[in-house]
């Protein structure tokens, strides 16, 4: 899936380091086995046993993301995710990581929480004999977070999140691109109009009552899926899950997401020039509104993005290899669900080069893409890459994009635990005609938003400071 450049916000930055599948070229059979059950309180549970490494992963996905936030409350789902690590009734502040790290989990890679537009998740991969500990910790915060919540905890994490925003947005070259792009591709008030990180003002205004209300609205077992993956015996694991989660009361039905439906196209060509004191070279971002991941065209969107990305892409060939006007081109989509998704093309120019020429060249190539560049060999390559990427991710029990995430995503996004086993067949079924139609309809001038970043001398202050 082409969403690598657009990862969810993580609780932790990665620390400095350190399935039965058949790979016959034309006869793929990559299947993840699972057992499912639903507890009386509505918690969906998926089990996947794999004894190849003595590790076990617990992964809880809540069906809430930044798209559920209301105007004036942006960044809240993510801020809340941080608060979930500040302790609950039987887990003292800070003990979540203390217990899990001592148990053999790697903070960052194996123990983390992430927030995206469409969901929030919490996961831990530990030695398999520590499975019950991981379940106990997840259950305690699902059931009792509010019992020990304080203003101090909220204020502390508010500062951490503001620092995260400074690191990832305000202090990085081009760091503000996403929030400028979303406001152009999605209309004001749309669930995807604002970023996951949110605004400094809204983060500053979040109150303890907001946190409590959010928890009561969305953090109930009937709004979550729990995946248990790895080296365990199923009867024992089921008993542990009942012991830990069974007592948690069902919550009220979460309110439906506000209307997210959208016209197929933006209907205009919004454009903005941003002067960026931190940018070493000009860069142009082009965003297109494309069909959402839940629709029939979702797999075609992923493949189109793959065909336009990388060193065999017609864009790379033209702008980097032949014209030499860009040093890098990259393409990806977010994988958003409701109303539409966002496909992003960006090209970085040479230091000191003209941003205008870069923009003209990029838009010129994009206008030609639908005609000639989308060929059957290119589509076949994209499918082969998708297969490799997918099987590669299944090496991991938990962590980012591992088996547990794949199963949880299937339930949260599609209400289908077997979705993981449909990903490759659906990708393989996409035809060239479908990709060409998609490109012709959506890579259109009246459906694109353009951001032009122009380097600016460093003084006085950068353009965006908050």
């Amino acid at each position: 899936m082409r969403r690598s450049p657009f990862v969810p916000l993580l609780l932790l930055a990665a620390l400095p380091a350190g399935a039965g599948a058949q790979a016959a070229p034309r006869a793929p059979d990559v299947r993840i086995s699972y057992v499912e059950e639903t507890l009386p309180n509505g918690l969906k549970v998926l089990y996947h046993a794999d004894h190849s490494t003595p590790v076990a992963a617990v992964d809880v996905w809540y069906n809430v993301g930044s798209k559920h936030e209301q105007p004036g409350k942006t960044g809240f789902a993510h801020l809340f995710e941080h608060v979930m690590f500040k302790g609950s009734r039987d887990v003292a502040d800070g003990q979540h990581y203390v217990l899990l790290e001592s148990a053999g989990g790697r903070a960052g890679a194996d123990i983390n929480g992430t927030t995206f537009f469409d969901r929030t998740n919490y996961f831990e991969q530990v030695p398999s004999n520590m499975l019950d500990l991981a379940l106990w910790l997840e259950a305690d915060r699902m059931g009792t977070l509010l019992e020990t919540l304080t203003t101090e905890k909220l204020d502390n994490q508010r500062e951490v999140v503001k620092n995260e925003r400074r690191s990832s947005v305000d202090n990085q070259p081009y760091g503000v691109w996403q929030e400028h792009m979303l406001t152009k591709v999605f209309p004001a008030g749309h669930p995807y109009f604002h970023t996951v990180i949110g605004s400094m003002d809204d983060l500053g205004a979040a109150s303890l009552d907001d946190v409590k209300q959010f928890f009561r609205t969305y953090y109930a077992p009937n709004n979550a899926v729990l995946v248990v993956s790895g080296d365990f015996e199923l009867p024992a694991a089921k008993q542990m899950v009942r012991n830990r989660f069974g007592w948690i009361p069902r919550g009220p039905a979460p309110p439906p997401l506000r209307d997210a439906s959208l016209p197929a196209r933006i209907g205009s060509s919004p454009r903005e020039v941003i002067e960026d004191a931190a940018a070493p070279a000009p860069r142009v971002y082009v965003g297109y509104r494309v069909p959402g991941a839940r629709g029939a065209a979702g797999p075609a969107v992923n493949l189109l993005a793959t065909m336009l990305d990388g060193k065999t892409s017609p864009l790379f060939d033209a702008l980097v290899r032949r014209q030499g006007i860009a040093t890098a081109v990259s393409v990806g989509n977010f994988g958003l669900l409701d109303g539409g998704d966002l496909l992003i093309v960006n090209a970085t120019g040479k230091a000191g080069a003209s941003a205008d020429s870069l923009e003209r060249a990029l838009l010129g190539e994009l206008d030609r893409v639908a005609a000639a560049a989308l060929t059957q060999p290119a589509l076949d390559r994209a499918k082969a890459q998708a297969r490799m990427q997918f099987v590669d991710a299944l090496q991991r029990t938990g962590g980012f994009g591992g088996v547990a995430d794949q199963l949880a995503e299937g339930w949260t996004y599609y209400r289908d635990p077997s979705h993981v086993n449909r990903v490759l067949p659906e990708s393989d079924a996409v035809t060239l005609a479908q990709v060409r139609t998609l490109a012709a309809e959506r890579l259109a001038p009246d459906n694109r938003a353009v951001l032009v970043f122009v380097p600016k001398p460093a003084t006085p202050a950068p353009q965006v400071t908050r």
Binding site: E101, N163, N171, A253, R321, K350, D380
Partner: protein
């Protein structure tokens, strides 16, 4: 309306229990661990092809994937000091086509195989890596290795890749993280050491390189005798041998034995503070550290334990201090960066501009504390349990296993180094940590680097009176 809200789940009856009712709650204390399940590191087996190429193989059959990496003794540490960036540029250029395939054609074939491919060079080695599904692996390996045996090095590709390398350098230098990391290396290593330079070169040194320099570097340092092929995954030893022979059995290049690289760190009489200006910065990048140890050094393992307690995870001292207690940063960690020579050891973080001086003071305080005071036994135990317990996770993927194998290769470790790694880590005691702290850490002679908006942070840092303060340009020239 989105589909999932149309589902009937929410229509089910509510349970009556009040939230958090103790009678139905979970047990109060964390559950005890179950019986530990066994884990064995799969063995490394090795052989050589008739042309002298060493091959090391680890079998792992959980998923039908195989990964391979040709590791060539052609890292930046070997390159001439006036050609910084040559090794990295050569590594990058390998992927741009062969004598029979243009870069685009080559990449199209790789993509058609669904293979993941990469080339590059760091200080201690250059490499070509390829990962593919089992059925495609022999073909993918053979294709990938033609970049080493018959690279094109076309002038147009050279020009483009060099331009990109300069752009990447500038992009790295546009963040406080990049600025502080580069300055830290320059400050810690001796000026003549290749480790003092950015591994990818700088704008100045890259601009001076030519296509012929790259071809010459490839001709004199890439050869079977200076290379090892690592293969990990769903492959038998016999299959690995067949694939390796097909890909590289006909490679006949000869390279002279490479000279060992100087890797010394500076002897410093006292603490030195280096500042780099980034006007308008809302955060500052901080390093506090010194020269470290190499992998092969017996002191390495206790240093791993020390680093773990100080900054090896979320609950490590420096993160609990700067992030959790003070809320000054998104994260703070230590890095024990190995090298064939000395390596480095440092605390690093990015902190808010207006608390930069306080954060530097706290980092120095933590550095001094671990150097001076014994580590409580339980704290060490918790830290070591993390390293020991998480080890299987780090080698769950074929790429993770390959990384461990590469460490064994590069630093001349015994082939069974990781077979006993967990046991040796678990055996470390507080006395070991105190011993290594006294022997290796010089808390009153450390290198401190801060990159940020000096108009706001310099007075506060000077007021800490930690040592002599210098201001450097991003290129490492002393400004004042």
């Amino acid at each position: 309306m989105s589909r999932r809200f149309a589902l009937p789940l929410a229509a089910l009856a509510l349970l009556a229990a009040a939230p958090g009712a103790r009678a139905q709650g979970p047990q109060k204390d964390p559950p005890a661990p179950g019986p530990l399940r066994p884990f064995a590191m799969p063995p490394i087996r090795s052989f050589a092809l008739p042309n002298g190429l060493k091959v090391m193989v680890v079998e792992r059959h959980a998923v039908p994937i195989v990964t391979a990496r040709l590791v060539v003794d052609a890292g930046a540490a070997r390159e001439p000091s006036n050609q910084a960036g040559l090794a990295a540029l050569t590594g990058a250029l390998l992927s741009e086509g062969t004598r029979t395939l243009t870069g685009t054609q080559f990449q199209e074939r790789l993509d058609a195989l669904g293979a993941q491919f990469g080339t590059g060079a760091s200080y201690d080695f250059a490499s070509v890596s390829v990962t593919a599904l089992k059925a495609r692996f022999p073909e993918a390996l053979a294709l990938a290795m033609t970049t080493v045996t018959e690279p094109a090095f076309a002038q147009a590709d050279f020009d483009r890749v060099r331009t990109r390398s300069v752009a990447q350098y500038l992009q790295g230098q546009s963040s406080v993280e990049g600025l502080s990391a580069t300055a830290f290396r320059r400050a810690v290593y001796e000026a003549a050491s290749p480790y003092a330079r950015p591994a990818g070169g700088t704008r100045t040194t890259l601009t001076a390189l030519t296509r012929d320099d790259v071809a010459q570097w490839h001709r004199t340092s890439y050869a079977p005798g200076s290379s090892t092929l690592l293969i990990v995954g769903d492959v038998s030893l016999a299959e690995a041998r067949t694939a390796a022979t097909r890909a590289l059995g006909g490679w006949t290049a000869v390279a002279p034995a490479a000279a060992p690289a100087p890797a010394g760190t500076r002897a410093v009489p006292g603490t030195r503070v280096v500042l780099v200006d980034r006007p308008g910065s809302v955060q500052s990048g901080i390093y506090v550290g010194q020269g470290g140890v190499g992998y092969a050094d017996p002191d390495y393992l206790p240093m791993v334990g020390l680093s773990q307690v100080l900054g090896g995870g979320f609950r490590a001292r420096i993160n609990m201090n700067l992030r959790e207690r003070h809320g000054w940063t998104y994260g703070a960690f230590t890095s024990l960066a190995p090298a064939r020579g000395t390596g480095t050891f440092a605390i690093s973080s990015s902190v808010r501009t207006n608390v930069t001086d306080s954060a530097v003071a706290e980092a120095v305080k933590e550095y001094r504390r671990i150097a001076a005071e014994p580590v409580p036994a339980q704290e060490l135990r918790d830290g070591l349990n993390n390293l020991v317990g998480s080890f299987p996770s780090t080698v769950q993927t074929v790429q993770g296993l390959l990384g461990r194998m590469q460490t064994v290769l590069l630093y001349g470790l015994p082939l069974d180094y990781y077979a006993t790694y967990r046991e040796r880590l678990a055996a470390l005691t507080p006395a070991d940590i105190s011993g290594i702290a006294h022997k290796r850490l010089t808390p009153d002679a450390v290198t401190i680097v801060v990159a940020g908006d000096l108009s706001k942070i310099e007075p506060g840092i000077r007021a800490l009176n930690l040592g002599a303060v210098e201001v450097w340009s991003p290129e490492g020239e002393k400004v004042r």
